[in-house]
Chain length 392, copies 2
């Protein structure tokens, strides 16, 4: 079935008609199969599926119209051209209703008209086949993509389950101090990370880290950070808890990250609250936006000048200390939050966050609501919120 313009099954009994049509179409580059009986023709059609069938209405066997009907019922793609003598003209409309593609009256005076009908039939048939094949391919691709996507999605979800185990409980009370946080990953795995821990009887430490990028690659670094921070922390605590300092932790973590050259850096804000002295000691390594401290009615944005971790060798970080009132809320947000505040410049977004704090939105639920974070289904970047507060 190659090197020709298409295959035509000619179903007719008149030798003269057969010779003329078959001769003309062969000359025009078609492969022509002649069958004189319409029942035999149906079998041949079923086996070979030619693009076009030319069939005389009055052919012997099951009859032209029955053959037409059988073909169009089984397959909408075969194009059937019916032939009839002048006296058969009444069957035209009937043939059309049965799905004939065209109708020609015998005797055929102009064979270019026949050739045109056949050519259109072949083109229509191929277009329909192409359409069907395209649809089938689309469906197959779809099924395959769905499966591949499902696999990766399940994989990421399983990863997320493991990552969540590295996070502390979402809510915790240390004496009068409340800690509360939320992480909304952009994909399944998050490059934002939060941890908190007791340092000594009166001291609580915490940090919010934001690894550059998001997803699996950044999530790996959070696992690393957690084990690293645990180690640094434990080392500081087992020697002398009084030695623990946010800046010391960042300096050590930076030293450990640099030699790994992971191609990832991280912004982190690490704080320590001394519940006895009532003060906050903190160190910021490129953390942005500045944390908001609502302290005895006043609101303050805590700017930090530190460089991000994981890029610059030998950086030494320094602590700052702020006195705390009996009532305070420290609101830490990762920069992903800025991307869900619409239509504003970065400066305006910071002002917007200040407004949020000044309007009394100090707990997780209020912040989530003010920023419409419950409705965020596809965050462009990971979003983390950590709130450390005391309400006496």
């Amino acid at each position: 079935m190659k090197d020709h313009n298409g295959t035509v099954l000619l179903v007719d009994q008149e030798p003269v008609v057969i010779d003329k049509i078959a001769g003309w179409l062969s000359g025009a580059g078609y492969r022509v199969e002649v069958v004189k009986d319409s029942a035999v023709a149906l079998d041949w059609w079923r086996e070979h599926r030619p693009e076009v069938v030319i069939c005389d209405v009055g052919v012997s066997g099951i009859g032209g119209l029955t053959l037409l009907s059988a073909i169009t019922t089984e397959d909408k793609e075969t194009q059937v051209i019916m032939l009839s003598s002048e006296s058969d003209r009444e069957s035209i409309v009937q043939a059309l209703r049965l799905g004939a593609a065209d109708f020609l009256l015998k005797p055929i005076d102009d064979y270019t008209v026949l050739e045109h009908a056949v050519s259109r039939g072949v083109a229509d048939n191929r277009l329909m086949r192409q359409n069907r094949t395209y649809k089938e391919e689309l469906e197959a691709t779809n099924a395959k993509l769905k499966e591949s996507f499902r696999l990766l999605k399940e994989d990421q979800e399983a990863g997320r389950t493991v990552q969540l185990k590295f996070l502390p409980p979402a809510k915790r009370q240390y004496d009068t101090l409340s800690i509360d946080y939320r992480i909304i990953p952009s994909l399944y795995l998050s490059g934002d990370f939060i941890d908190y821990f007791r340092i000594s009887e009166h001291k609580i430490g915490f940090y919010l880290a934001d690894v550059s990028g998001h997803g699996a690659s950044s999530a790996f670094v959070t696992i690393l950070l957690k084990t690293m921070a645990n180690k640094i922390r434990r080392k500081m605590l087992t020697t002398l808890p009084e030695l623990f300092s946010p800046a010391g932790m960042l300096t050590s973590a930076n030293e450990e990250l640099i030699p790994l050259s992971l191609g990832k850096h991280l912004a982190i804000f690490c704080g320590m609250i001394d519940m006895q002295k009532n003060e906050l000691t903190y160190c910021s390594a490129a953390h942005f936006p500045p944390p908001l401290l609502v302290n005895g009615g006043k609101i303050q944005a805590i700017d930090g000048k530190g460089l991000p971790l994981g890029i610059f060798e030998g950086v030494t970080y320094a602590d700052s200390t702020l006195p705390l009132s009996d009532d305070f809320s420290l609101i830490l947000l990762s920069d992903g939050v800025l991307e869900v505040i619409p239509d504003k410049s970065v400066a305006e977004k910071e002002t917007f966050l200040m407004e949020m704090a000044s309007k009394g939105h100090h707990n997780i639920d209020q912040v989530m609501e003010f920023l419409s974070l419950a409705e965020v289904t596809e965050a462009p970047d990971d979003i983390a919120i950590l709130i450390v507060s005391r309400n006496s």
Copy 2:
């Protein structure tokens, strides 16, 4: 356009015909719009896209056949039924060629035939629209799936880049000792992990770990294992290198893993080669299949009875020691390799691996070739191969 069986545009000039057809079709539940001029009809059709157009061949304006041709050229979905008086019969074949769906002769004696033609036209039109919509939806879903898949894939690839940074160089020479390994992840991220390191001037340590499952969740645990092992190792080494032992490392790692309750356990084989004493000290925690030691011409499968890490609290692991010849190859494989050896029981697969070693396949390339691993594109599980050897 609701609550009716479909919309029909009737293009005719004869008041009697219009009344009869419009009346009958309205009665049959169709919404009928009558336009007497074919040029006006074309505009109405363009704006309203009815399912069916009934058009008299001889209608005024641009003419019935021109209207038909304009419609079928712009839209294959509208079904056009042509009407002609007996004297117009010659236009039937022409109308068919122009894509008319049906043809009825005036005067219409049997209106059920007309209704049948309209009903078929509406059904065909809707089927074609549905087909098109379905195809468009498929295409849209496809594009969306492709994008989601691309996102996740890129994410996993980025994760893999980070994971690779935790692995040591693929090949390394310590004096006369060669270390060579390969990891083939099932997805992008691997739950198989390999590391090696110098313990002291004459001692080299190494391990091959296989975290249960594969993909992101297992890969997280490999990062954890690496930092954990580094820490344990450094602690042992900074106190007294002579204290380092494979069993000690597994015991400590198990102690660290248990409290994390990650829902993941891991099989690991940890070894240490003393190049001065010429011996291998090792400890296996459920590592399977047993490593093969080709030692001075003899081949030995090193069975280990240890329990996997991360499940049982307080397990103590014990070392074993084997003397080494001047020439030896220690071939470690993760169990993923068993899944690419076809049509065999596990026992037969182990025998197959023994054969591999006995036939002299002792280096990475030979093992890769013997197991046809170069052709493995979608491994059902991660595959890791670590070969520690000396050829004097």
